[in-house]
Amino acid sequence: MNQQQHAPVPPDTGGPVHDPVRAERLAARLRAALGPGKVLSDPAQLRTYECDGLAVYRVRPAVAVLAGERDDVVRTVRICAEEGVPFVARGSGTGLSGGAVPVADGVLIVLSRLRRILDVDPDNARVRVEPGVINLWVTRDAAPHGQAYAPDPSSQQVCSIGGNVAENAGGAHCLKYGFTVNHVTGAEVVLPDGDVVHLGGTAPEHPGLDLLGAFVGSEGTLGVTTEVTVRTIQAPETVRTMLVGFHTVEDAAGTVSDIIAAGILPAAIEMMDALAVEAAEAAVQCGYPEGARAVLVVELDGPRVEVDALFTQVEEIAGRRHAFEIRIAADDAERALMWRGRKSAFAAVGRISPAYYVQDGVIPRTRLPDVLTEMGRLADEAGVRVANVFHAGDGNLHPLILFDDKQPGAAEAAEELGMAILDLCVDAGGSITGEHGVGLEKKGKMTRQFSADDLDTMQLVRCAFDPAGLANPGKQFPTPRLCGERPGVRTAADTHDPALGEVF
C-alpha cells in the first residue's frame, strides 16, 4: 500500500457474510446467458476487482462479468433485475472516490473490453465510442482531422470514457472548455430494469427532458452506458505555456485573480505549492524553479495573434505580482515537461511520504488566499503535512495529505484533516468535489453541502431510473430514502449500508 494513493481509514462495517451458494447459482445463470469465459466467480480471480483507485475500500463481488459486447451488459443487467441483485459498472477502475467499488454479493460489470471506436465523424465533430475506450484514444483518432477531445483528466492515458461519463470527469483544461457533460451529446444506456434507451444523440439538442444531462455525473447509480457520442473541438492554432515561480502563495493566487480580472480565459491555470513542487522534482525532474513557494503553469491557446498578445499580458501581470522566474516553453517537448510535473504530482508525492490521501474540494476563486491560510493552520494543528495542487483557475483544490501509515493513528488524523478541509470548502461557498465524485468516500459529507430536501429531490431522479435501487447502491448519497417512502421518514438510515460488505 506504500507510495500508493489511498484513503487511510477502512470503513467500519459489519457487512453481510458472503454467500457462496447464492453466488455460484448467479454465476451459473450468467454463464448460461453469456457463454463461458466472461463470468468470474473464483475468489482469487475476483481479487483484481475488489477496489478502484481509492484502494482502501475493498469489497469482493459475488461475480464479475467481463462484458465482451453490448448485449452482455444488457443480459447481465436483466438477470440482476430479475434476481434482485445489485450491480456496479466499472471502466478502468481509476476513480478516486470509490465509485466503482463492488457490492458484496452483487455483480461487477467490467466494461474495459468494450473498447471499439465506432465512428469518427470530423465533419460533424462527433466521435462515437464504446464505454471502455480510453480517454486519450479519442483525441488520438481525432487528431489526424485537426480535432481533439477536450476533457483531459490527469489519468487520461488509462481512464475510460464510460467512467468519465459516470464521474463527469474534468481535467486541467476544463477552465476554458468545460467538463465531460459539456462534451457528451448522446449515450446508449442500459437502465437498471434492463431496458435500453438512447439519451441525446448526434444533434446538439433534442425535444423533451434532458435526461442525458442528469445521467452524466450520476456515478453509475442510474444505469450503465454502452455507447457514448462525444463532441470534438478543433485543435487550436497555437498553444503557449509558461511556468512561473513565486516567493509566496499569496502572489501566485493574486496572479490568478489578476489574469481572470483582466478578462483573459486561459486554457489552464494550475498551481502547486512548495511541497508539491519538491515531490514532482523528486519524481520526474521537471526542472521547476528552485526555491519557489508556489508555481503556476499557465497555458493559453487559440489564434496565434491573440495568444501572443495575451501571453505578454500574463507575463506582465505575473511580474507585477513579484514572479521571480518566468519560463516559457520553447517547443512541445518543453511544454510536455512542464505538464509532466503537474500531471504526475499525485503519484510523485509517494516519493516524499510513505502514504498520502488526495482530497478534491472547490472554493470560489477569490477565497483562495484565506482558505489556504486556514488549511495551513488546520494542518499545523493536526501535525500533518499537506502538499497542494490546484486547478487554480476554477478554484478546484487537490490537497495531498501526507502521513506515515506505520504510525498508529496517523491515517485517522489524515482523514480527519481531509474532512475538515471539505468543511472549509463548503463554508467558503464551495463544493465537496470538483471532479473526483462523491462515491463511497464522501457520501457522508453530502449533508454538509445539501439539505435533506435537496437530497430527497435528487432521489426522485434515482427512483425514476432505478426504483429497485440496484444500480451502484450506496454510492454518491448518504442512505437515501427508499423509493415510494414518504419524505422525512428515513427508515433506511438504520439499515446496513449495501455498498459495504467484506472489507479486507
Partner: protein, 373 residues
C-alpha cells in the same frame, strides 16, 4: 390575460421564494409559471391553468462577486437588466436569446439560446446552480455557486427546457464571461444550400474562433455572418483570415439587422430545428420553399418560419436521418402536443417516470411537454 390561449382562473405574482412555496403547499390546482411571457408558444398549451404564477416579483440579483465570475439571481430578473448590471465590471452572462425582456427563469424553462452558443454553449453549459419549488411546496437546490462541482445529480440540466413541469425555478446561479474588447463581423453572400454547407464547414474546420456563425436563408440564397469578438488584434487578423478562407466577404463593424432574431411574423409557423451540424444544406433543402430561416450554421440549430399549412410530419421525417427534430415555437392556430413536439424517443417512458416522481399529481405546467407530459 390568457396563457397560450388558455384562460387562467387566477394570476399571482409572488415576491419571494417562500411565497411560491406557500402557494404550492397550500393549494392543489394546476400551476403554470411564467416570466415575461415571451416564449409561451414554445411548448404545447397547458391542459389546464388554475393559477398563472408570474415570477416578475422575484427580481433580485442576490450575489455577484466579480472576481469569481459568478452571479446568483432570482428567476424573475430580466436578462437585459442583469447584463446592464454586469457590464460595469466588464462581464456578461454569455447567453443571447433575442426575446426582449426575457427573464432568467423563462430562459431556463424554455432553454432559449442565441448565436453565441457556438462559443459559450447554452443554458446547460452556464447554469451552475438552481433553486426550485416542487409541486408540494418543497424548496430544493442543486448545484451551487462554483463553476466546478460534481456533488449530487445535476438537476439544473433537468429543469432546463422543462417549462416548469418539474418545479418552479425561483433562483439561478451562473458562470459569467468577460465582455470582449472588440468585435468584427465578416458578411458574405451565399448562392445555394450546398454552398452554405461548404462555407460553414470551412469556418468550422479551421482554427478560427468566432463567437457566432449565422446564416440567413430564404428563396434559395442567403447571407453568412462570421462574428469575431476578442481583442482588437485578434478580430482584425481573424476576420481577414476568414475572408481568405471563404474566398469572399467583407468586414463590418456591426452585424446585420436579422442577426440573432427569430424569423417570422404573425400567421407564420415558426420552428426550432436541431440536427447534425454538417446536414445544414440538406435541412435547408427540406424546408418548404417560402421558408425564412436563421441558422447557427456551425452548431446544427436553426429557426425557420414556414407557411401555416406545412406538413410537419413530412418535414420531421426528412430531418430524421440527421438526428433532426423540429419543435414549434409559434403556431397561428392550436396544435396537439404531438404536432408541437414531434414523435417521442425510446426514452419517453423514462421521461414520464421522471415527471411522475417530481409531480405525481401532474399539477405543474400540465400537458406542456413532449408527449403531453
Amino acid at each position: 390575460m390568457t396563457f397560450a390561449g388558455v384562460e387562467p382562473k387566477e394570476t399571482v405574482s409572488p415576491a419571494t421564494a417562500g411565497e411560491v412555496a406557500a402557494l404550492l403547499r397550500d393549494t392543489s390546482g394546476s400551476v403554470v409559471p411564467m416570466g415575461s411571457g415571451t416564449k409561451t408558444g414554445w411548448a404545447a398549451p397547458p391542459a389546464s391553468c388554475d393559477v398563472l404564477l408570474r415570477t416578475g416579483g422575484l427580481d433580485r440579483v442576490t450575489e455577484h462577486e466579480p472576481g469569481d465570475l459568478v452571479v446568483v439571481a432570482e428567476a424573475g430578473v430580466r436578462l437585459g437588466e442583469l447584463q446592464r448590471r454586469l457590464a460595469p465590471y466588464g462581464q456578461q452572462l454569455a447567453l443571447d436569446p433575442p426575446e426582449p425582456d426575457a427573464t432568467l427563469g423563462g430562459i431556463v424553462g424554455a432553454n432559449a439560446s442565441g448565436p453565441r452558443r457556438l462559443r459559450y454553449g447554452t443554458v446547460r453549459d452556464l447554469l451552475i446552480g438552481v433553486t426550485v419549488v416542487l409541486a408540494d411546496g418543497t424548496v430544493a437546490k442543486a448545484g451551487g455557486k462554483v463553476v466546478k462541482n460534481v456533488a449530487g445529480y445535476d438537476l439544473g440540466k433537468l429543469y432546463t427546457g422543462a417549462h416548469g413541469a418539474l418545479g418552479v425555478v425561483v433562483s439561478t446561479s451562473w458562470r459569467l464571461h468577460a465582455l470582449p474588447a472588440a468585435r468584427t463581423a465578416v458578411v458574405a453572400p451565399v448562392e445555394s444550400a450546398a454552398e452554405a454547407g461548404q462555407l460553414a464547414s470551412r469556418i468550422a474546420r479551421s482554427t478560427l474562433t468566432p463567437t457566432a456563425v449565422e446564416l440567413r436563408w430564404s428563396e434559395g440564397h442567403g447571407e453568412l455572418v462570421v462574428l469575431f469578438e476578442s481583442i482588437e488584434a485578434s478580430v482584425t487578423a481573424q476576420s481577414q483570415a476568414a475572408i481568405t478562407r471563404l474566398g469572399r466577404g467583407v468586414c463590418a463593424d456591426d452585424v446585420p439587422e436579422w442577426f440573432g432574431r427569430r424569423p417570422g411574423g404573425d400567421g407564420d409557423l415558426v420552428l426550432r430545428l436541431a440536427y447534425e451540424p454538417f446536414a445544414l444544406p440538406r435541412v435547408l433543402d427540406a424546408l418548404p420553399a417560402p421558408a425564412v430561416t436563421t441558422a447557427s450554421a456551425c452548431t446544427g440549430v436553426a429557426y425557420a418560419a414556414v407557411p401555416a399549412g406545412t406538413d410537419l410530419a413530412a418535414l420531421r421525417a426528412a430531418l430524421a436521418p440527421y438526428d433532426g427534430s423540429a419543435v414549434v415555437l409559434r403556431a397561428p392556430g392550436a396544435l396537439r402536443a404531438e404536432d408541437h413536439w414531434g414523435p417521442v424517443p425510446d426514452s419517453f417512458g423514462l421521461m414520464k417516470r421522471v415527471k411522475d416522481q417530481f409531480d405525481p399529481r401532474g399539477r405543474l405546467s400540465p400537458g406542456r411537454l413532449l408527449g403531453g407530459l
